[in-house]
């Protein structure tokens, strides 16, 4: 790679690395600025935020604001602190991500490696659900959850989000690339269906699992519509819902400094997951094993 970029640039102009860097830096500034400002605002008092002009440097209320958010109650959401919100959201995001991966890897395993009646029918049924996003089936799902008494429960929050046609398809595509000879060699070596799953399919899919986990965790973390519907009590809120509830239409009613702190907390876990898992799946992608 380095040789290629060098050869490519010398033929054009010596300045082009600077140009491309400038463009990249400008792009990053545009993306990062709102986040930076969120952080700045989270260190200011409410008065400082509301009074123009915009302050661009962090203020002196960092400790006060963060302490209040973590250990006091956030006014708007009925005295629930950020810890509870983070815990709820983590449970939802983790269950959705893990649940989706477990269900889809198992269904893909069945569809690819077993011959059973109506195998392709099941495959198409799963495939067709791709065309029905959450929003379309939300009312019937809501009715079912109400009937089962699952409103304001973690089960109600996560279960309907778990089935995933996309992840099933991804795993299916990957499993189809596992050579048949590998399966046969394993059979000769005495590996039954479970052994083959745990000793071969899982280790070979770990990069796919890592990538999917990141995507699905963020998907679960940022869920809005469904948690809004199935939670009534404040202590079951996810952080995204809480943020929404904290913002009032009248500017002066909104505790902007706490909103900003909560926003920072809402951003951190997905970032952490990406950073942590990235090492994992980049490593996996580089040393593809098949």
């Amino acid at each position: 790679m380095p040789e290629r970029t060098e050869a490519g640039t010398t033929s054009r102009s010596r300045r082009s690395p600077w140009v491309s860097h400038a463009v990249l830096i400008a792009g990053i500034l545009i993306v990062v600025f709102p986040i930076y400002y969120t952080f700045v605002a989270s260190t200011l008092s409410l008065q400082q935020i509301l009074r123009p002009p915009l302050q661009l440097l962090p203020g002196s209320h960092f400790l006060d604001n963060y302490y209040e958010a973590l250990f006091g109650g956030l006014g708007r959401v009925g005295g629930i602190n950020v810890w509870t919100l983070l815990l709820n959201t983590s449970i939802v995001a983790l269950s959705v991500a893990v649940g989706k991966i477990v269900i889809s890897i198992l269904s893909a395993y069945a569809i690819v490696f077993f011959r059973f009646p109506f195998r392709m029918t099941f495959f198409w049924v799963i495939f067709i659900t791709l065309m029905l996003p959450v929003e379309v089936r939300i009312l019937p799902t809501y009715k079912v959850m109400v009937d089962l008494g699952l409103i304001d429960t973690y089960t109600g929050l996560t279960l309907p989000l778990m089935a995933s046609a996309t992840a099933t398809l991804l795993f299916r595509q990957f499993f189809m690339t596992i050579p048949g000879e590998l399966l046969e060699a394993a059979r000769v070596d005495g590996a039954g269906p479970w052994r083959f799953f745990f000793d071969f399919v899982l280790p070979l899919s770990k990069t796919n699992i890592a990538a999917l986990f990141v995507i699905l965790f963020i998907y679960g973390w940022t869920q809005y519509l469904w948690p809004l519907l199935v939670t009534n009590s404040n202590d079951m809120n996810t952080i995204i819902i809480a943020l929404r509830k904290m913002i009032s239409y009248a500017d002066a009613d909104t505790q902007w400094h706490l909103v900003m702190v909560t926003t920072i907390f809402a951003i951190l876990p997905p970032v952490a997951v990406v950073v942590l898992m990235q090492r994992w799946f980049v490593k996996g992608l580089v040393e593809t094993e098949k």
Partner: protein, 362 residues
């Protein structure tokens, strides 16, 4: 140690394709049996049925006197070497070899001992910690062999194990496989479509064609007495020349008294054809037939030369020793010893030559 016995084994695939059409075969204990035949003749299918990877449509397969039709591959006490090696990509070389033993619940020290022993035999000792992708093709091949050896199976099954190697390595591994199989004395079935591999490896050579066995025998017996025109043209390179008596008579061969009653094809190996001087020395009292061929090309390959020629519309290959002193174009008189002729009937079946006594009378 075990014999493998197949009794009227058939395989019909789901689509109605009959890939194996009733095969009877017994592989004696400790023998290396090579299945050879053109692509699509059902060799792999047969091997996979023995391995238990493919269901048997009818007939029985016995390993060591036990019918294994309904057994899982792992229960048949076989080991298989696959064409693409099928090494476990996420396991080290050591684990690749140890995996099957672990699944059987072999105690750890014994696994260790067996793997080290196999690694020593295959010169893999320094590679045990590597992953398959860090190995060369030949080394992968050895690991695949090692995986089979450590299991101490009753039968080794090989499905074209050398076809992914370059020519030189293939020759080397061929010798190694032969040696290893002799040393271990394990009954083996080896599939290949390379007739050189088949000839050099086999104790028992099985020539297959479209789902049936054409001939079973020791390689040289098969070579010297091919049972059908198919075997005659499949075994040996370049293949046996197959000509009609009419072709031969038209170019001056005298076949009177030599031709058995129902023979419609005469077969002559390229090395049995030669210049008249060379062959008359060889033939001795048996006598020669001689005829003219029209030269197309002369291909010197070093130790010998191949002369591609025509007899009317039929092509003929003559194998000449060394640098052949023959013209590049035009006609050449060639000769073949009478006792080296092969005869086949209208169904392509071998016909015995006319006995020497009867020949003189005729």
């Amino acid at each position: 140690m075990a014999t493998v016995a197949l009794k009227t084994v058939r395989k019909v695939y789901a689509g109605g394709m009959e890939a194996v059409k009733g095969i009877d075969l017994t592989v004696p204990d400790g023998a290396l049996c090579v299945l050879v035949g053109p692509s699509g003749c059902g060799k792999s299918t047969l091997l996979r049925m023995i391995a238990g990877l493919e269901e048997i449509s009818s007939g029985t397969i016995e390993i060591d006197g036990r019918v294994v039709n309904a057994l899982e591959p792992a229960e048949r006490d076989i080991a298989m070497v696959f064409q693409n090696y099928a090494l476990y990509p996420h396991m080290s070389v050591y684990d690749n070899m140890a995996y099957g033993l672990r699944n059987r619940g072999t105690p750890k020290p014994e696994i260790e001992r067996k793997v080290r022993e196999a690694a020593r035999m295959l010169e893999l000792g320094s590679l045990l910690d590597r992953r398959p992708r860090q190995l060369s093709g030949g080394q992968r091949q050895r690991v695949a062999m090692g995986r089979a050896i450590v299991r101490d199976p009753k039968v080794f099954l090989f499905d074209e194990p050398l076809s992914n190697l370059d020519a030189k390595l293939r020759g080397q591994m061929r010798v190694e496989i032969r040696k290893l199989q002799r040393d271990l004395g394990v009954t083996s079935i080896y599939v290949t479509h390379d007739q050189l591999e088949a000839m050099t490896l086999a104790d028992v050579l099985v020539v297959m064609n479209s789902g049936r066995i054409e001939q079973v025998g020791a390689p040289l017996d098969v070579y010297e007495e091919p049972a059908t025109t198919f075997v005659a043209s499949f075994i040996g390179a370049p293949p046996m020349n197959l000509l009609t008596p009419d072709h031969l008579s038209a170019v001056g061969a005298v076949l009177e008294g030599l031709l058995p009653a129902d023979a419609v094809t005469v077969g002559i190996r390229p090395e049995d054809l030669g210049t008249v001087e060379a062959k008359s020395a060889e033939a001795g009292s048996a006598g020669l037939i001689t005829f003219d061929v029209t030269i197309d090309v002369l291909e010197p390959v070093g130790a010998e030369s191949y002369l591609y020629a025509r007899v009317q519309d039929a092509s003929v290959v003559v194998r000449l020793p060394g640098r052949a002193a023959v013209p590049e174009t035009g006609k050449l008189k060639v000769a073949a010893p009478v006792d080296k002729l092969h005869f086949f009937d209208t169904h392509g079946k071998r016909v015995d030559p006319v006995p020497v006594a009867a020949r003189r009378l005729g």
